[in-house]
Amino acid sequence: MALASILVGLFAISKVKTHFVQKTTESYKAQQTILANQVAETLSNNLSNFENQLQIMATMPEVQNIQNVEQCNTKLNELLKVGRRQLGNLARVDPSGRFACSVNESLIGQDSAQYGSYITDLINDPEHKPVLSRQTKQPGADSFLVGLHVPVFEGETFSGTIGGALYFSKFQDAYLKSVKFGNGGHAVLMDDNADILYHPSLEQNGKNLLDQNIIAFFEPQDTMRKLVKEVKAGRSGTFDYSVQGTAKIGLYKTFKVPGKDRYWAVVVTIPSEDIAQAIDDAGINNVLLALFLLFTSSIALLTFVGLRNIIKNLEVQRMKDDFISITSHQLRTPATVVKQNLGLLMEGYVTNKKDVDEFIASAYESNENQLNIIENILSVSKLEAGRLELQKEKVYVQDLVKQTTGLMKSTIATKKHKLQIVMPAKPITLMADPIKLKMAIENLISNAVKYTPPRGSISINVRNSKENVVIAVKDSGNGISKEDITQIFLRFNRLHSALVSHVPGTGLGLYLTKKIVEMHGGEITVTSKKELGSTFTIKLPLE
């Protein structure tokens, strides 16, 4: 029976683990894909702009008319100046394929076919669609360029082309190099000829992915062939592969570029290790810990508890992040009160003695509140590390309660709370840590003050028997809902509701209070009615 339970549990937990890994991997890939898509879109827009600029130039009479070479050259030079920096080598080609005019005058009269067949392709295409060249390297330069020519029409008649070069180095830095993919990933830009247009290690630039030496680099060996096929077809997707034993994932986003059925792709490669790290960060260690717990136990119940723990632990990371955000907000609030009050006093806005006293008292109390939050945080962190220890001594319960309420008298007065304290006249003593017990009581009373609206009532009732002392703090606040009441003593519990509903509170106070009471061998209970208020009761054994 027990064995069967373990098996069922293991099956369930491995399901959870698989599901978790799968979900985290998917979400990681999705994030990186969004990034790759953005890069592709930026590049695609740049190319479209380039094409649009050329199309506009093609409509200019000075450019259309290539009979006057000098005039045409002047115009092209002028256009180059206003054109974007990544443009270069503007040239006008006549319908026979010869450079008619060009900013690079040495080209004039030469056959454009010498510089790649792309211009010839445009001329021969019955529809004269714009064409993009393969990448070329300028003699003596490091940078690569891609040529683009668009048709020029005089009326209905095809009158050759106008085009220029797009310098890659000008925007590869801005759009490809600067984007970070995962921890060790990078982006490559390729075209549908399998040419590498950009690679972070620059010596790879200009190489062809279908080169035998490059293909051999990848496992499985058909990785690149498949990728090039996908890009030629204009498809986007992902693939798994490895390079020299390092597993990687690839994401490719293909986008349309000027020219007939031409595509480029942003290919992002990320070491699989990065994903493993992301899964780790998201809490897979907790899953493994729970698995270990299951192995070492033979109780069916643990299956259930283990599953619940996994879910809980997975939430801890998110809670910690929320915690920082909420705590800094919580600390800022009293700090703001101190700043405003002191500001009013310093700037001389407050002159009346009574007002001066009130602003000072309120600043002092806010400072106390701030210190209390800090104390709670430090104590919880000690508690988590197993370093919160009690320094017991003889404590007078009534004194502790009086001291605590004294700390809040200014707020109680401002909020016009009716405070009622009922305590036996005879001193009640117990062996306890006075600082921590005071902190526990302070947390309860300050909550009562915080959540009770102005003119509400708060009552503190202390009573004892032979065995116990009971301290009950009752407020007339909004009360706690049935769903929340089971959660209020859990660490960080309030964070979520604080973030979602914007109700202040770090959720550390009650967690800490409960722990302190339990360390003293006592217990804490709560009863509450929505809209009517809550009562928190601490019961401590008298030794």
Binding site: R332, T333, K339, L344, E347, Y349, S362, T411, S501, H502
Partner: protein
């Protein structure tokens, strides 16, 4: 002299802000959460409403969502929050708030300057 509605759940802050604005000669009405803020905004005919973000019952964004469709032209909204969050700021501005300020960063004179700027813009 203008009428200012302060919606702020931290009583000590509401008191400090009221004191400052009254000292400047403004009329001040205080509400302690978004719901009370809605009621008082309907009655008060305020020129400026100062709204906190994190409040019980109805928070600052909730207040803006319900109040903005009813807002009279010319009423200025100043968000004073300690939530230094771009998301909240963006959402508040999109909902129609005129300014979003982190209250811990404002001294009384700085706050007055902002209030006066808002009251003096049409």
């Amino acid at each position: 002299m203008a009428k200012v509605l302060i919606i702020e759940d931290e009583l000590s802050l509401a008191i400090a802000y009221s004191f400052l604005l009254r000292h400047e000669g403004h009329k001040v009405v205080v509400a302690h959460d978004g719901e009370e803020g809605l009621t008082k905004a309907a009655k008060a005919a305020a020129d400026l409403i100062i709204v906190d973000m994190m409040m019980p019952r109805l928070d600052g964004l909730g207040f803006l969502r319900q109040y903005m469709p009813l807002k009279k032209p010319g009423v200025k909204i100043l968000i004073l929050s300690n939530m230094a969050s771009r998301t909240y700021e963006k959402e508040a501005i999109e909902l129609g708030a005129n300014r979003y300020e982190i209250k811990a960063q404002l001294s009384p004179p700085q706050l007055l300057k902002i209030v006066n700027e808002l009251l003096n813009t049409k």
